[in-house]
Amino acid sequence: MAAPVLERVTTGPGRRARRRPGARRRDHLTGWLLIAPALAYFVVFLLYPALSALYYSFTDWNLRTEASWVGLANYADLLFDDVKYPHFWKSVSVTLQYTLVAVPLTLVSALAQALLLNAIRRGANLFRLLLFLPVVTAEAAVGAIWRWLYDPQYGLINTLLGLVGIPGQNWLNTPELVIPALAFIAAWQCGISMIIYLAGLKGIPGSIQEAAIIDGAGPWQRFWRVTFPMLRPTTFYLLVTGVIAALQVFGLVYVIFSGNGRSVTGGPEQSGLTYVLHLYLFAFRYDAMGAACAMSFILLVFIMIVTALQFRFVKQEAA
């Protein structure tokens, strides 16, 4: 960026014609060198692994020895062979259910927290810190804490439910309750979305709110007629990124279901066997890296389709 400017300043008009072609090449070189670190990072850690994974998805590979080419067999087997991959479709269904529950819950929780933070005058910094803490807490600690909270005998959640007369549940060991329980943790960890919503709220001009008040709009109307429509671009962004993240959920289920020396097989009756956990098991436990790569590309295509549909059908402009 700086080099051309430098050249115009320092190069005399007489020498320009003669020196220019070589100098331009050198300018290009400088430019490339300046972006080299970022480019090297992209190529070495993103592009090369992704292209390798694409190649390996067409092979039978156990990670240790030479891969053998099998064409589309991995893709076909994953989709249609329930002997080789008995839980593939189960993992798809678990992940879709999780996404459908966790994403809206996270958005509602983040927006509610942001509205509260935006409303208070004193101590906003403290509360923002407290609400953000779950995001920066180590995943393993989060898993341990929530296993405790959900404990069927001593768990705080069952104790609280007991106070209002609801019988305690065996949360993480009842297949029907696993997804809601996991989604609730995700909603608790919504700090990043909360911060983005807060920024969105700060961006709504005070004059619009004032105009609404003068027109006689109550708080409820102001939220639904002014705040919420003005936040639409923020909501759209959080929806798209939230769905992508939810479709790839892994760390949470891994730490929740790997306690007590149990091998991670996805919770009771595979009810917590998310797509990426299933992929991980094939990659690193069952020695089927080729199939795992194919799974990752099926997921990639699926995410691209879902995202394109959201861009097509969800309103994203502020109104």
């Binding site: 990670l63 240790r64 405790w148 149990r262 069952y286």
Partner: protein, 404 residues
């Protein structure tokens, strides 16, 4: 400042930065021979001291040799090792989980034990056999272990010996206090499926006949074993046993676990008065075998030295302490068992009748994806034990391509 100088400085800075990024892979070249050995992270500080002493003894006996012990958390170990082997950066030697030995041997990523390294008759046959693939020996065992019945002495004065006694004791405990489960019955997860074969052997059965390529876990002994767990749940509601550490907290009177749990329980729950007894059986005493094997990787530059180290760890003089450090019992017949607590006798008795797991390369997948869900469907009452296991056996036959 001239333009050329600025450019030169930028280029130099970038190049040196990139060089620094790429320079991490080499190094560690010392004058003598260095041997890298991968193992699980120490279970206790004492275990670390034992390994340190054995390492020093080996270095003293082999001047000029340094042994580097690389300790990796057990949960990450297989993943890290697989990646290292794939990228041709495997260590000289390392611990290898028993079911992985045959897989690595098939791949050619580990070396065969050289003739004359050890006298096979010096080792426990069962432990040594976990290192065989296709009749050849690919590693040396370092320790062996097994699971047995842990019982709370306050709730269970006399440990049950048979299945009938087990059911009876569990029922009595739960009848006496409805908040206490008779037994922490294993679940239909990978861990439960791993324990299951020991129960099947106790009824005189087997999971598979791998030589004859026959699936046998739909036969009566396995069905009876699963039915035992189903029956035990009547006196052991999951609402109690799914709680955190139910046995340790006194909420389950019995559980199945291994010697590795004993020091942890003693340390964290000093008030728990518990004993260990061999697993109850139906027709014959039986159990599982587990433990650590050790292998030399094909990429090792000093394979002879690596084998020498592995043989050193497992010889009569060292294996008693080494096996104890790994959390198991010696594999060398003449090695001194480190005197342990009163529970040791039960584990040693159990080891005499322990059976190795099936030597099927895909066994982990069968264990996790087929047997575990089958156990769970019987335990939750969605299928009978016979239905669940017949279904699982059919799936296993299809997956493995077996007819029997």
């Amino acid at each position: 400042m001239s333009r050329g100088l600025v450019r030169g400085a930028v280029v130099a800075a970038l190049v040196s930065g990139l060089a620094a990024c790429g320079g991490g892979g080499t190094g560690g070249q010392s004058g003598g021979k260095e041997l890298t050995f991968w193992m699980y992270q120490d279970r206790t500080p004492q275990a670390g001291q034992v390994m340190e002493k054995v390492r020093e003894d080996f270095e003293k006996a082999n001047p000029g040799v340094t042994v580097k012990l690389v300790k990796i958390p057990k949960d990450d170990y297989n993943t890290k090792l697989g990646s290292a082997v794939a990228s041709k950066s495997a260590p000289d030697a390392g611990i290898l989980d028993q079911p992985l030995v045959s897989k690595y041997a098939l791949d050619g990523t580990i070396k065969e034990v050289p003739a004359g390294l050890i006298q096979e008759a010096d080792y426990y046959k069962g432990a040594l056999d976990t290192n065989r693939a296709g009749g050849k020996l690919y590693g040396l065992p370092q320790d062996q272990t097994t699971v047995a019945l842990f019982y709370n002495k306050k709730l269970v004065p006399n440990p049950p010996k048979t299945w009938d006694e087990l059911k009876q004791v569990a029922a009595q405990v739960h009848a006496a206090d409805a908040n206490v489960a008779g037994m922490n019955v294993p679940k239909g997860d990978g861990y439960g499926a791993w324990m299951f074969p020991g129960i099947v052997h106790g009824a005189g059965g087997e999971m598979v006949d791998d030589a004859g390529k026959k699936v046998l876990f739909d036969q009566p002994p396995a069905v009876e074993a699963l039915q035992l767990w189903v029956d035990l749940q009547k006196s052991s509601p999951r609402k109690i046993t799914d709680s955190d550490k139910p046995f340790e907290n006194g909420l389950a009177a019995m559980t199945i676990s291994g010697p590795w749990d004993v020091p942890t329980i003693r340390e964290q729950f000093p008030d728990l008065d518990f004993g260990v007894a061999p697993l109850p059986y139906k027709t014959e005493p039986a159990g599982n075998i587990g433990g650590e094997d050790s292998v030399v990787f094909s990429t090792s530059k000093n394979p002879d030295l690596a084998w020498k180290w592995l043989a050193f760890l497992s010889d009569a003089a060292n294996n008693g302490a080494v096996a104890d450090a790994f959390g198991g019992f010696p594999v060398h017949l003449k090695a001194q068992v480190v005197a342990g607590g009163p529970e040791q006798a039960a584990f040693l008795e159990q080891l005499k009748v322990a059976h190795a797991r099936p030597a099927v390369p895909q066994w982990i997948q069968v264990n996790d994806e087929i047997i575990a869900p089958a156990i769970e469907s019987a335990l939750t009452g969605k299928a009978t034990a016979q239905q669940a296991l017949s279904d699982a056996a059919a799936k296993t036959r299809s997956l493995l391509g077996w007819n029997g």
